[in-house]
Symmetry: C2
């Protein structure tokens, strides 16, 4: 099993703002994909769609301002049953966000792509909470030919 | 051992352009850090410096338009003896670049940070070869508090 790992930090932004961006349909639509629907509450399934396809993610953990975990229940074969974890903590004036997409069976080329693409969406999330405006799909940066 | 993996692709750009950006001091200074010096040839050591510090990387493999590998000989303790691999291939109108920073002892928080930061520099490399202008340090995007 291999994992995609990332980390960002935002200055003078409370963890509540980041947690909201991860746990509300409006928040998620503001940085990942505008086509976000479903139930973002604990136990619910969030439906993310992009021009090439999408993902169905079940919210299996949600501790306000601390942690969110999703289980992938729909999407590309490589994603099924993987988990996506978000961990928040405060460090002085900064809110730190640790990201892990865990449980990839193999480090396939698609995993390399998803690692880069996740980073670009995390930067979009950072811009959203810092400036009020992210770059969710379909306004995201293309990193590859099949994007 | 854990690895940071990324992938980008550039359209209607020959692999020669990407290879040049990885194997010349001017090319490297155009996307990673403007403060790049040293010897970028096979067996040479390239010296990359950033405001918070930097890395000394030895070029241990260089196959024109196909592959480049660096061994980390200087820098943060977590980086020493890790390798950074670049693999190029052509796929139709696209040049695909696979990146791997291999040999991290543990998935420490600094590794999460470096994964995100590498993605931002890969996007800078992509812009450099596509438009002639990247965003190397000190013009890079901050992703964390210690950037």
């Amino acid at each position: 099993m291999v994992d995609i790992l990332h980390r960002i930090a935002v200055e003078r932004i409370e963890p509540e703002s980041v947690y909201d961006a991860l746990t509300t349909i409006d928040g998620l639509a503001g940085w990942w994909t505008e086509d976000t629907t479903g139930d973002a509450g604990l136990g619910g399934t969030i439906v993310f769609r992009f021009p090439p396809g999408g993902f169905d993610l079940k919210v299996i953990e949600a501790v306000p301002n601390e942690r969110v975990t999703w289980l992938v229940t729909g999407g590309p074969a490589e994603w099924i049953d993987t988990t996506i974890e978000w961990r928040l903590r405060v460090d002085g004036d900064w809110t730190v966000l640790l990201f892990a997409h865990r449980g990839w069976a193999e480090p396939v080329e698609f995993m390399h792509h998803c690692s880069t693409k996740w980073a670009s969406y995390l930067m979009s999330l950072k811009r959203l909470v810092e400036t009020g405006k992210g770059t969710p799909s379909p306004h995201d940066v293309r990193v590859a030919e099949f994007d």
